[in-house]
Symmetry: C3
Subunit: 310 residues, 3 copies
């Protein structure tokens, strides 16, 4: 690619997140938190708790990656500027008279702009996470992928756990199945709360982050012959486009669908041809997952075992 | 202040917590744990589990601050003397024949003395936490406040989580609201269990710790023109007086009440004058917090959004 | 002991766990995970979540000891060989056509061999944990015991918490009592799921690990006049024998039973003679643990207190 294009991507990759993109990220996160039921009431009753939740929403990815790397989870508090910025956004959103900010945010174009800018911060976070993990473990590429994933999309799991602890969100019924998928839900939490889409949106957004983490890890370990800045450019374009598309048309299968189906069919689908002997297992598995409590299931496992050993 | 007074406060600030004040702290904590329903039965059935719970009650603040600073949570185990001291107190309280200790402790003067001495240890813990955090992050004053708070009053959150995991204490109904306030409950757990007061006592005790953490942080960053030892003296006097008052008269509004009201009215109350447009929001918030599950709430959020965009 | 015997034990203590014993450990752990109800269905629906659970089962002890020592919990991911080995075993077990592996594993001799080899890895883990903790805290013998215990048998607590978060396993009813014993359940999780034994098996297996951790700690601090390699030899023989015996005869009281009874009678039983004054306490404790919710219990505590103070 010619040098002018190279300059463009290089300049783009040097864009500072600080004032505007961070503001967009905090805005989207805190609005997502406010759209949870009762959030406004809690903010009135107990501002400190609400502020802490807002911090979890805003800095969750950093906190999670700090925990995974055994760094102080409070590290984000040392960045006073960003903490004060997020706090003021939380204050404006929750305590602005007549709820002006929410009403302004409820217009689709504003949401599209904010969401797009938030996606840009996601790319920066993934790259930062991968580089940071590499400074810990040379060639620890699994760790690099995990940290990039955690920092890029980890706000969700932290807030999910926070809700779990609050008892606000109780996994139960088929919820626990969703919860068991939590590790795949490191996705766009805000689209959980204001219901822009179903859990597919989570999963696809989370998978996009995962894909980015993998790509940037390979680029960092020089398995991809492309410069980091142009990769950042392309990936950001891809992310923003996918997010905007997901928000306009509330479907999520547009992204990665075929690729995933092929992969999962290659990896986990080829046993389907042995359908004549899969039936027993699958029925057993699904049945016990649906209804049976642990003792029953383990008993019939035991029965099966005894049958075998007789 | 003249030098004799200075000497007094200096001597006071050099008091060693080790034998007697630590004993009072362990006594109050383990008695609080014993007053939980079923604690005595568990101690008979499973001493090891009971002992671990007692350690959590006694060293919870240190454990929490270790976690927040990414230090080994087991660090407190290296202080063999204190661990053995706490263990022997646990043993005496739970396995003393005829339950003599509990009966002795159930006299109010004993409780007042023990609680007063425990408050003294709280001051020492706050100062230690602030200094320790400052050794990590120079001028990281938010972290210093947080660590001082956690170490000074963090026994509760650890034991709360331990109960949550046990399933002994399930947040549900309006409990989850209380739980959402957990971050404010870093308070006097013992008054939760033996019901000396309501959640107000928590909150006020926790707020006293928070206030102390803020004060000592400002003193440490030289924003307060007062020597640390005299500040420790005054704050300890204040803490002990407040605690004794709270225990004698089972009210808690004596402390910080007016100050808080003013502050919260200044910060979060001035929108009340816009009552004509606050109604919709607050009713919506409270209603959904009370009863509606997540999907409903997010649906009516979505509806609202669609109305807006139409 | 003569030198040939010494050579034997020395050679044994230098056995590498890597290919075969690790495979046995992963096999037993993943089979235990597969025997949970619904595990097979989850693996089909969401392979990534299932893979993560499998990693938790396989490397739980290491993760727990990393958390307790404030090391990165992701550290195990840097050992690429073992992660790939465990992943391939997970893949074979869950996606082998016709479920061949499970059927092969359901024969008792295979289970006995795998379980025996797993016990060998347990010894190595305990020794590694004790040595590792000693490199942190010289003479911190309590920490050494705890880390040896955690690494030797910590897979359970991690998976228990993972189930708790999933909501798959809800402590409730007398479950919460069991959960309160969780710290004693750092035992053989696989015998939880395929029901080879009752909770006694847990406790005894966990106590065997605890005993080993204590023994190796004392050996490491030179309180035991026996060389480490012969101690490893004897302890491994003991572990394997105990495990095989437990699996053949589904009883668990064979091990440590008398020793424990004596100890607990010495420590916690001698108050029984004061039965005339124990009755009130124990009845009160058991009663409230069985049924009464927190407020009632604390109220009658308060009542008792008021009676006292009147």
């Amino acid at each position: 690619m010619d040098s002018s294009w190279d300059d463009l991507t290089l300049t783009f990759s040097h864009t500072s997140m600080f004032p505007f993109f961070d503001i967009a990220h905090y805005l989207v996160s805190v609005m997502a938190m406010k759209h949870q039921p009762g959030a406004a009431a809690i903010a009135r009753k107990n501002p400190v708790s609400s502020w802490l939740t807002a911090m979890l929403h805003c800095f969750g990815g950093g906190i999670l990656s700090c925990i995974l790397l055994a760094e102080p989870p409070l590290k984000f508090l040392t960045n006073h500027t960003n903490v004060l910025l997020a706090s003021s956004i939380w204050y404006i959103i929750f305590f602005c008279p007549c709820d002006l900010v929410s009403q302004a945010y409820s217009f689709l174009p504003v949401q599209l702009l904010a969401a797009g800018m938030k996606e840009v911060t996601r790319t920066w976070k993934i790259v930062g996470g991968v580089t940071h993990a590499n400074s810990y473990y040379k060639n620890g590429w699994i760790v690099m992928i995990a940290i990039g994933w955690a920092r890029g999309a980890g706000g969700t799991i932290v807030t999910k756990f926070e809700q779990l602890v609050k008892g606000d969100w109780k996994p139960g019924g088929d919820e626990w199945l969703k919860m068991s998928h939590l590790f795949l839900y490191l996705g766009d939490y805000e689209y959980c709360s204001n219901e822009f889409g179903s859990t597919d949106v989570f999963r696809s957004a989370s998978k996009l982050t995962m894909l980015g983490s993998v790509i940037f890890t390979f680029q960092h370990t020089e398995h991809l012959a492309i410069s980091k800045h142009s990769l950042m450019f392309f990936y950001t374009i891809f992310l923003v486009t996918a997010k905007i598309t997901m928000m306009m048309t509330e479907t999520s299968s547009v992204t990665l669908g075929p690729f995933e189906d092929t992969l999962s069919r290659m990896l986990f689908g080829w046993q389907k041809q042995f359908s004549w002997c899969e039936t027993k297992l699958s029925s057993n598995g699904t049945g016990s997952s649906a209804s049976k409590p642990v003792p029953d299931a383990s008993q019939n496992v035991k029965k099966k075992h005894n049958k075998k050993t007789e």
